[in-house]
Each structure stands twice: as C-alpha cells, then as structure tokens.
Symmetry: C2
Subunit: 294 residues, 2 copies
C-alpha cells in the first residue's frame, strides 16, 4: 500500500452553504506526525469513518458514503458533517489518485480530549491487489457476534449500525478466521442469524433471488451491497433484505462478501463446507463495480 | 485538565533484559502533532491502554496495571510488552507530575498500517477534581450490554476483558446516562447480571460482605477494586466475586463505582431508586486509595 495524500479538514457547520471549502483544508504528508496524543480517535476509538473505492481517479458512490457518514454521526452524537465540505475534500483526494485502484478514507473524530471541536481528515492510498480473491474467492468461518438479533433496537448505545473507529473486534475476528486457516469471518448473532463480515456485507443467491441480511439487525448498510442490488434489479433479478438463519449459508447457490475496496469476493467455503463459485457472474459483478458509479 | 508530559516509546522485546531504557524514549510536546494518520489506534481503535492514578508524584499500583496491559496484549495478539521498559517510562512520567492528583496513560497501538511494529507512548496530565463526586456520590442507570454472561468464554474474538482502545460504546453509554439525567452507567448482561461501569468497577456491600461481579463475565479486572478488596480483607471484612443479578443493585446496603482516577464514588441511586451513602466508610476508602500504593 502506498500513501498518496492526506488532507486535514477544519469541520464546517452542517448549515454552512459555501460551495468552496478550500480554506478549511490543509494538505499534509501522510507519513508525517499529524495528530496529537490527546486525539480521542486514538485514545477511545471515538469517531467514525468511511472507506471509498477509487478506480482510475473516480471515487465510487460518494453520496452513499457521505450519507452513511452522516448516519454514523447521528448515532454517535457527533456534529452533523457538512456533506458539501466532505464532497469537496473527496474530490481533491481523488485528484491525487492515479490510474488503477485506490482507497480514500474519511475520518471524523470527536477531537482532542477537552478540545474545542471534532477533528477530521481524508487520506488516499493505493489499494491492495484484490484480483486473485475476486477470481478465486475466499474461505470464511462463522463467528458468534455475541448479540441476539433484537439487541440493536433495544440498546442504541451499543452503536450497532454506526461505522465507528472502534474496530478492534472486527480486526480480532479476521485474525481468528486466519488462525483457523480461513480468509475472513462471517458474524452470526447469538440466536443464529447471519449478520455481516468484519469489513464487508454478505449477499446470498438462491436461484434468481439475491438476499442480504436486513440492516436493522445491527449491521452496517453496505454501500457496495446497495449498489450491486440496484444493478441486479436493473438486470431483472429479485433482491431482498431478509432475516437469514446461519444454516442458509451453506444451502445457498452462491455467496459473496462485498465491500468498497475488495469489491465482490465469492465465498468458496463456510466453516469448511464448499459452496459453488459462479466465476462468470462474479466477473460481471466486478466489471460493474469497477465501472464509474455515482 | 492540563497536559504535563508525553513520551514516545520504541517498544522493546519482552525478553530484553536491560534495566535502563532511556535510549528508547523520546519526550514530545503533548499538544504537538505526534502520530501519523496511518496509526491503527486511530483508524481502528486497534490497541490497548491503561490509566494509572498519580498522587503527589507517586504512580499507584503500577505492577497491577502493567500485568493487565500484558493480559490485554495477549487477548489482542499484540507482542508482549516489556514490563521493565514500561515501568521505566511510568517512572519518568510520574517525575513530571506535581503535588496533587494526575493521571498517566499507557497506550500500545498495533502501529502504523502496514508499518513494521507497534507504536507506544505514555502521557501524563492533571486529573479532574473528583472531590465532589467522591463525597456526594453519583446517580447511575443500568444499560444492557447486549451480551449474555456466557459470551466471553465462548467468543474470545470479542475481546471482552481486554482494555482496548475501542471505547466508543463505553463513551456512548456515559452520554446515554447523562441524557437520562444520571452521571454514569452500569452495564448489565442481556440475561440480567451486573457487569461493570463503562470506566469503573462496581462494588456492593451487604452487611459486612463486599462483592463485585466475577471478572470471567467479560469485564475488566479492576485494579482499584483489587486494591480495595485487599484493604477490606486486611480490615477483617469478607470480600467475594459473585455472579450478581441486576435486582441486587438496589437491595445493596451500599454501592460504589471504583476506578484508578476517580477512585471510590458512592452510588446514590440506580435507575432512580435511592441507595444509602455511607459517607464515613467512603471517606476511609478514598483516604486509603489516595495513600501511596504499590
């Protein structure tokens, strides 16, 4: 991964109607010291983020990511982000991305402890080469997420559904999957329903029907899943949000983990049980996901 | 809060037998930029921490904090910290703390994304004035933590029991408590057992018996609770770790939230139900907790 660019943002109020926010931006060396040790993002994982895929300098689905950033901010009681300001910052970051695939990250932190205001920044970096996992697929294991499916509705302070910087558990789940000889994890609720992967959404195919776990189960509403469902709808397929029992994973005709940078990775096994990989359909998904999308 | 001091550490291997680690330390301005945007502590809350109380320049219970740091590192698959190195860093930080109360934080991060090694630093800052909450107590609300009491044993990837930097939920719980007119939260398991507060341990008194939730329920083993239990044992009281139903909270003769910096704060109400505050006993607890402890 190559760092390409970093921009520190002075967050504007959400009702600031400017269209040019350049005066709020400060370009920095992404490898240089930029954040103080008092940063609450660092001390408490207290902030939110988005990762946006960039293909040949085009940032994908920016609006969907910005809307989710605003949604996460609401769940975390952070000031509403000024989406025009973030859009401007993303455009600048994208202009620093060369041909090929990159990733732009947006981070909104609660700020420095006892400081006056949130801090915010945008980075751009080269994306890892995901061509192999897109073609060959990955092996997943299911891991208990600890919550039953009703928890998110009754305990909003658990921030389920917000994309917070507190991702230590997500990272630990991926390590656990690798320690079991797999590539990735699929979280399952304590009462046996499929949720999501630590950094991706799950899509299952049953015949001509494509389903994904309903996002009210405390999972992130995946921007790539949303985009792919629109694509499938246009192609005449049926798409649906469902409460999916874990047993349905290995009964599926095919399964994918989809995310903004890795895009569509076919799941070739769950807990050691093989699942068919539809190479042609997967390739068509990734052709679409690599095309410019807004 | 006043920043007093910050020290960046080049982490030594756990089997490095030096006794002087000064060459690994770099003093920095705590308000100045020190961390890069690629820090995984910031991007993912991926690291661990400890907060050590300091009274008149004496760092309290350093060994217990270092042992918990090592425990958290094991749970998070981080390299084992060199405790002699951390102890040396704490001693330097403590030497920058004036009379009165301060707090030293230890942070061990997984490092910069794709970087070679973990990053680590120690800060010292003035502690807030907690004299009022120690004397007058606080009002708490119970909040569902979402997990049943058996989850930690069966799902170690959830990192329950590790003091990670992913504290967004802990911070959200305190905000939720304040939005309900209370001062702090007490987490309860989804099956109705008392766990801990977002940044403190709970101790209940029933007659001459003091109980705290058993730490195998996925809670942190509180260093202040441990120290206070030793004190109570020496005073002839009975102390015990128990699985405590939530209903026992308001049946208790007294209750405290105890932590390294706020020390013993009596709980004067839970969910609006008043609990007696034993001012004399609480004052004796805090006298002890403010005395030099190793």
């Amino acid at each position: 991964m190559t760092w390409r660019f970093a921009l520190v943002i002075e967050p504007a109020a959400s009702d600031d109607v400017r269209t040019d926010f350049a005066a709020d931006f400060r370009t920095i060396d992404p490898a240089a010291p930029a954040l103080s040790v008092g940063e609450l993002s660092t001390q408490r994982g207290d902030g939110i983020f988005e990762s946006i895929g960039v293909v040949d300098g085009h940032a994908q689905e920016v609006q969907a990511h910005l809307e989710r950033l605003a949604h996460s901010a609401r769940l975390c009681d952070l000031p509403a982000p000024n989406l025009a300001q973030w859009r401007h910052a993303v455009a600048i970051a994208a202009s620093h991305c060369p041909a090929g695939e990159s990733v732009i990250k947006l981070i909104l932190s609660r700020g420095v402890e006892h400081g006056p205001a949130p801090t915010a920044w945008v980075t751009a970096a080269g994306a890892p080469d995901n061509s192999r996992v897109r073609a060959e697929g990955l092996r997943a294991v299911t891991l208990d997420r600890g919550y039953d499916i009703g928890v998110p509705a009754r305990a909003p302070w658990l921030l389920l559904g917000a994309k917070t910087l507190s991702y230590a558990v997500n990272m630990a789940a991926i390590r656990e999957a690798k320690s079991r000889g797999a590539d990735d994890a699929i979280f399952v609720s304590s009462d046996g329903y499929v949720l999501e992967a630590p950094t991706a959404s799950l899509i299952l195919r049953r015949g001509d029907r494509f389903v994904t776990p309903a996002p009210n189960g405390g999972i992130l509403h995946g921007t790539t899943q949303l985009s792919l469902f629109e694509h499938l709808d246009r192609g005449g397929f049926v798409t649906a949000y469902e409460t999916i029992p874990a047993a349905a994973l290995t009964d599926a005709d095919a399964a994918w983990l989809v995310s903004s940078v890795r895009l569509a990775a076919p799941v070739r096994a769950v807990d050691g049980v093989e699942i068919a990989v539809d190479a042609e359909l997967t390739a068509s998904f990734n052709d679409y996901l690599l095309s410019p999308r807004d």
